[in-house]
């Protein structure tokens, strides 16, 4: 019991800053305060799950759909990239992977801002297109721009875990498959892909989570109809003073997110991979 002191002081910190805030969210979501008195209510949740007027559920569904598309695109674009990188000679891939993480270290808002300059109706892409005599793209202020922003910002999160798994694959497994007469495609689908499944799941997690809860990307690149659940939560705390409703939506999104984590997480490991 020589670590009692250390452990207990940490427990205090963890309860104050990790647990108490979450309990407060729960508290606000389930109460209504009228003047000085606080009473229990489910009103915040019924307002969200209002089936006669499913506006807020639609926003949630939309957020999931948009984040889902972005995640799928990241996987489709990212897996081949990770595969290509991993199959290079170590020196070359060290250099290329360095190039690869470089944009990731730039401030996320700056990266999103870059796309504003590119996508605007009279922005750089459209100026170039019109010089080439091509029709203009109407992407800015639409869902497409939001998805693009998500893919651009979070693609490295998909590639990194897959790449890190692929370079550690035991080459003798692949050689064995080869020797036993499997075609390269069979080797890929029967050996490589199953072995990289945990990495794919972790990549999906790392792209989907920030996408489904973002409010910055939709605010900067989206338009009047691309509000995501994150936007609505942010509004409740920053614009209209509705802590209860904002908390209820936070609870809802938290349940979904933890559910997803539980689904995609490997059962045996207690350490969470980044």
């Amino acid at each position: 019991m020589k670590y009692k002191g250390i452990t207990y002081s940490y427990v205090v910190y963890a309860f104050t800053f990790f647990l108490a805030p979450l309990l407060l969210i729960l508290f606000y979501s389930l109460t209504a305060s009228d003047g000085g008195s606080v009473s229990f209510t489910l009103e915040n949740f019924t307002r969200f799950f209002d089936f006669s007027n499913p506006q807020y559920m639609k926003v949630l569904g939309n957020s999931f759909r948009i984040a889902g598309i972005a995640t799928l695109l990241c996987l489709l674009l990212g897996y081949p990239m990770a595969y290509i990188l991993a199959s290079l000679k170590p020196r070359l891939r060290a250099f290329l992977s360095l190039l690869f993480i470089l944009p990731m270290w730039m401030n996320f808002l700056l990266r999103t801002y870059a796309w504003m300059s590119l996508l605007e109706t009279n922005g750089i892409i459209n100026t170039l297109l019109s010089k080439l005599g091509l029709p203009a793209l109407q992407i800015m202020y639409t869902e497409k721009a939001v998805i693009l922003g998500m893919v651009y910002n979070f693609l490295p999160f998909m590639i990194l875990p897959i790449y890190n798994t692929l370079i550690k694959l035991d080459p003798s497994l692949l050689n064995a498959s080869d020797d036993l007469g499997a075609s390269p495609w069979q080797t890929f689908t029967r050996v490589t892909l199953p072995l990289s499944k945990p990495a794919i799941l972790s990549g999906i997690n790392m792209v989907f989570m920030p996408s489904v809860t973002t409010f910055v990307i939709s605010r900067l690149l989206g338009g009047s109809s691309t509000a995501l659940i994150g936007d609505i939560i942010e509004k409740q705390f920053k614009l209209v003073d509705d802590k209860g409703f904002g908390s209820a939506m936070s609870v809802i999104i938290m349940i979904f997110v933890f559910g997803l984590v539980a689904l995609t997480r490997e059962k045996d490991s207690e350490e969470v991979s980044l």
Binding site: T121, S224, A227, I232, K235, L239, V240
Partner: protein, 349 residues
């Protein structure tokens, strides 16, 4: 271990030489903290104030009255000394006892403010606020895309301009425009009228490109849209870069707004705050600000020195008979929550 210490030490030393005006609270020098709208002061005014008085200014901006109010409410204790809200928000803050009475002995320049801006409804005794700027809500449009005459709010519901319209990302202003287009009062608290306004906004939504804030100016200059609802104080900043946009107030009337500087009750630098208010009312400074925003200054002497094009512009300085038709925002007691719900519902649709 040693290497880590060396690193931490080196970085700490580096920090010691980095200026930290943002968080130096025990700064012995005089300061004043100001909370104002974005793009709402002429460049150079703050520097001039700092130079002349030696008072250091900490300056933050907000996007709407509502987000300013909430930020103050969510913070406890001392936040800012001077805030510049609009009429109805001043009433609300006054009622909630958030404002300090101004010692006008320290603000002698306030005497130069035109009589018609003194003791308005939002601050009947005039003891808590000093008028800063005033103007209207109007429609800015690109005459190349909009060739018809702009004289009705209905143009913002015209399918011809689908996805070329910007609305203001502000509860009162956008609901207000919808109420006006329906022929109701800007300050309606009638649930039925508000429901109609909500439906009107939902109907308009597919036509709206985005609900904008300060960025609407750049977006209109870049011709991202054809029509935008703006505050008339944006006109000066737009004209500075592009004078080909046109502006109009619909015949049905509009909102006229008065923004005024107030001192918060929790202010820790009240004397400096009063010095700043006094500075804002100085005719040359008031003119700098009004010229920058293309607005008519509430300070008589400043207005007299402003260009005729501003003084005679019916959008920024409507004649009295027009002004009488326009409405000022009031507090919407009893319907405040409904307004919030409508706005967050519209944004979520």
């Amino acid at each position: 271990m040693k290497r880590l210490y060396a690193l931490v030490l080196a970085l700490t030393l580096l920090l010691a030489f980095t200026p930290l005006t943002g968080c130096s609270q025990d700064d012995s020098g005089e300061t004043v903290r100001i909370y104002n709208w974005g793009d709402y002061i002429a460049p150079g005014v703050i520097e001039l104030f700092e130079e002349e008085t030696g008072i250091e200014v900490v300056y933050d901006t907000f996007e709407t009255n509502e987000d300013m109010y909430l930020k103050l409410k969510n913070s406890s204790g001392y936040t800012y000394d001077v805030v510049i809200p609009s009429d109805y928000m001043i009433s609300k803050m006054l009622r909630e006892d958030m404002l300090a009475e101004i010692d006008f002995n320290n603000v002698p320049n306030a005497a130069g403010i035109d009589e018609r801006f003194k003791n308005l409804d939002y601050d009947p005794t005039g003891a808590y606020s000093v008028p800063y700027m005033w103007g209207t809500v109007c429609i800015a449009y690109d005459p190349e895309q909009v060739t018809e005459e702009v004289n009705s709010w209905d143009i913002l519901w015209d399918e011809d301009y689908a996805r070329r319209i910007f609305m203001i990302d502000s509860e009162r202003d956008s609901i207000g425009v919808a109420l006006l287009s329906l022929g109701y009062s800007l300050n309606s608290t009638d649930p039925d009228e508000l429901e109609e306004a909500k439906q009107k906004l939902l109907e308009q939504k597919p036509l709206v490109l985005a609900y904008t804030g300060d960025d609407v100016k750049d977006k209109m200059i870049a011709r991202e849209g054809a029509l935008a609802v703006i505050w008339s104080c944006d006109i000066g900043i737009i004209r500075e870069q592009d004078d080909t946009l046109a502006y109009a107030i619909p015949d049905a009337g509009t909102n006229v707004w008065y923004d005024a500087a107030v001192i918060l009750k929790d202010a820790e630098n009240k004397a400096n705050a009063e010095a700043f208010l006094n500075f804002l009312c100085r005719p040359d400074v008031a003119q700098m600000n009004a010229d920058y925003m293309g607005s008519a200054s509430p300070v008589s002497e400043a207005l007299a020195n402003q260009d005729e094009s501003i003084r005679n512009d019916p959008i920024v300085n409507p004649p009295a008979e027009e002004l009488a038709k326009y409405e000022v925002f009031q507090m919407v007691d009893g319907a405040a929550e409904l307004y919030e719900e409508i706005w967050s519902y519209v944004l979520a649709s």
